[in-house]
Symmetry: C3
Amino acid sequence: MKTNPGRFFEDYRLGETIAHAVPRTVSGGERALYHALYPARHALYSSDAFAQSCGLPASPLDDLAAFHTVFGKTVPDISLNAVANLGYAEGRWLLPVYPGDTLRSQSTVIGLKQNSNGQSGVVYVRTQGLNQRDAVVLDYVRWVMVKKNRLDAPAPEAVVPDLAKVVSPDRLVVPQGLDFTRYDFTLAGEPHRWGDYAVGEQIDHVDGVTIEEAEHMLATRLWQNTAKVHFDATNRADGKRLIYGGHVISMARALSFNGLANAQIIVALNGGAHANPCFAGDTVRAWSEVLDKAPTAAPGVGAIRLRLVATKQGAAPFALKGADGKYAPEVLLDLDYWALMPI
Amino acid sequence: MKTNPGRFFEDYRLGETIAHAVPRTVSGGERALYHALYPARHALYSSDAFAQSCGLPASPLDDLAAFHTVFGKTVPDISLNAVANLGYAEGRWLLPVYPGDTLRSQSTVIGLKQNSNGQSGVVYVRTQGLNQRDAVVLDYVRWVMVKKNRLDAPAPEAVVPDLAKVVSPDRLVVPQGLDFTRYDFTLAGEPHRWGDYAVGEQIDHVDGVTIEEAEHMLATRLWQNTAKVHFDATNRADGKRLIYGGHVISMARALSFNGLANAQIIVALNGGAHANPCFAGDTVRAWSEVLDKAPTAAPGVGAIRLRLVATKQGAAPFALKGADGKYAPEVLLDLDYWALMPI
Amino acid sequence: MKTNPGRFFEDYRLGETIAHAVPRTVSGGERALYHALYPARHALYSSDAFAQSCGLPASPLDDLAAFHTVFGKTVPDISLNAVANLGYAEGRWLLPVYPGDTLRSQSTVIGLKQNSNGQSGVVYVRTQGLNQRDAVVLDYVRWVMVKKNRLDAPAPEAVVPDLAKVVSPDRLVVPQGLDFTRYDFTLAGEPHRWGDYAVGEQIDHVDGVTIEEAEHMLATRLWQNTAKVHFDATNRADGKRLIYGGHVISMARALSFNGLANAQIIVALNGGAHANPCFAGDTVRAWSEVLDKAPTAAPGVGAIRLRLVATKQGAAPFALKGADGKYAPEVLLDLDYWALMPI
């Protein structure tokens, strides 16, 4: 067999590190495509001049584009035979990614737990994205449910990692040189500063985008994520293609500009759930809730913890969960992240 | 309210200047996407070597891509609550835009006139696109009909600016260094020079392109134009998304290569009407008429004034207006511009 | 007539060289778009660092993107009135193309043969792609059936060129400096080296991609190929748009990563047939067969000759031809090429 069958649950060993294939050099092309695929308008990621006025050498690649690039490389080794993408934790962006940088990924297995049915198990990995200087640009944990191939393979000792519910504010990494003391709120698009947001505040981001098959496939391929379900209409009985969850994350984040234009930089991913699948034809909207706030040591820079919820057509205002504690069927995404804002 | 409700008619003040948000650095990525979105083949915008043989330092960003970038920034402040985009005038391209340049926009209110129904009014703005050196790259007037929010707000004194019907040839700005004396007609794709076109001549550009939802949304997002109507299929009772008028302009201009391959550089926008809406599934064609010609002071460079008409399926040859003076229903666009050609 | 009616069979003269229009400078934008349009993952074309570790100055533009760019320029002169694209031969990639390079094309008529019905004829051209230093980057022969316009035009003397069935291994050009002795199989994605492939071996590349109208049009425009049939839904009675054959070539080649991840560089095109048309909605899969192997003089580099077959939904495993010697209706492409692999 020359082709890659993907790994099954019994193929993972606790503590092993998997070097993922196909490093990627990013350029202005990836940035332009990101802006064509999502209504992205955060000024720091749109303008070199704006980024320079904030102390950075140039406008970096969007934090989520860096995430998708790192994530995409893990798919052939981690989630080709995954039944479900169960969660994220302890995600931190450690270095901005600039055009010309080359990214690669590696993952360490930090937990394994076979399901009681004996047919699948949960694999926990800590994934790192590294640049051409072997510096870590991104570090996060995700866990997926993976099928077993040999059902008689013995169950490994169950190890479930102890993961932080939230990245502690003192562990957030502010990009070197970042300085928001001369931040231009007019060019950024909104006057609201860190001090204007209250914990518990909810923001409806108003705008909606109807998704097309061509768009989510362009996006998913750009990140070299080749999971069959996103591309092959013959793969499901109903002829639908399941949209990469990261496409919904980027769409919701871009929509959140309207009300959170100054939440410029994503520095941590506390957690996230892809509550329901998204398909072409769905119209995605988003709302946010301020979960926490924290100061940082950088001049003029505050951290804000946000819940970002993506919904589809038919959702009630600020839809989240029903009385049974389950996500409403119109909720697509429930994401928890830290961003940096001018204070 | 953290989100932007947009401005209503009563929110504009004569003489005020609005600095629009989200500056944008362009790269080779924007150029590649422009060529993927439109059948653009004008050699000066395709090849650095060709542009250099014409005296420019490199191949600039397509003039219409520069226009869309500048225009897109104005949408949140000017046309979010617009009922109609009524017209353009006095548009001039003043400097080429090159990869690496950062564009921003500002608009000055130069006219206001409340409609007799008291529910809306016309806002006239002069918009300027500026680069990272604060040099104006583009300057144009447009006017839009905008809803009132507070119907009891007093009508402003009616001021309708006196706008030139046509940009006078002596006001056209030829890019510094442009020299068409060694112009390579073979590489450009057609032998027809400025002297070969006669005022009154009409050209059917032959080719048609059927429009897809994914394409017009990619284009419109690339210019960071986030008007809801272009993206949200739930926004209209018939589930359609209205295509950004600029998408039709670029499509028609690109199609006009076939017959006007040497009308290389757009230097002025005299006027334009989006005669009828365009929707996905429409097949766009174009025809042109030579309206005027003028010499320029630059070596080998002549100016040609062109009417560019975009039509959709079912249009009669050279369709424009009916006996009633109204645009035929298959006419999408009627644009009047000056371009530069080798003499 | 200012527009280009295209050439008809009687317009070609044996031995004439046609300089094709619209040179093109490529950038990181073209590379990013190529990766968004196809599931391309060959590491040498994804990562500057990987390419440098193989002795190249940077990651080149994908070989097929270079091919499409050169090919696209020939369409207005060679195949605008073509009835069928009949074949390719003697294709060789002679120099890598890097971001910043400007490509142009020229074709020499090397054969002409009028069909017995007197209504069309076969035109054979040798096409060369040249860069801004006038160095040939690509050289190939293709032949097309072209309509006659003036049926009474005399038939030219029939000349059918003697074309090699296969590019001889000693004529393959290995990029200068290429060295696979320190090749990183882990980063490349598969462990299989040149020595692991046996002549006659067949590989099913497993994955499928369902094609969308927006995608093939974006791709075809990017290469400035403006053949009407790809864009104009009103051009056929059934309202379909015929997909550019090169789109299927690139899709199949990208899919072949799964099993041929180390067949990094395409150096020769021995032949190819677009067996059946492809339309939006088709799901493309691919399989390969090892046809031959040959050593090269470059360190660590072997050449492998591959048949690449693209199929659509409904195809039998390793579908190719029926008992009648005709391609099965689900076969889209039968391509024969040489690639370079680490030994």
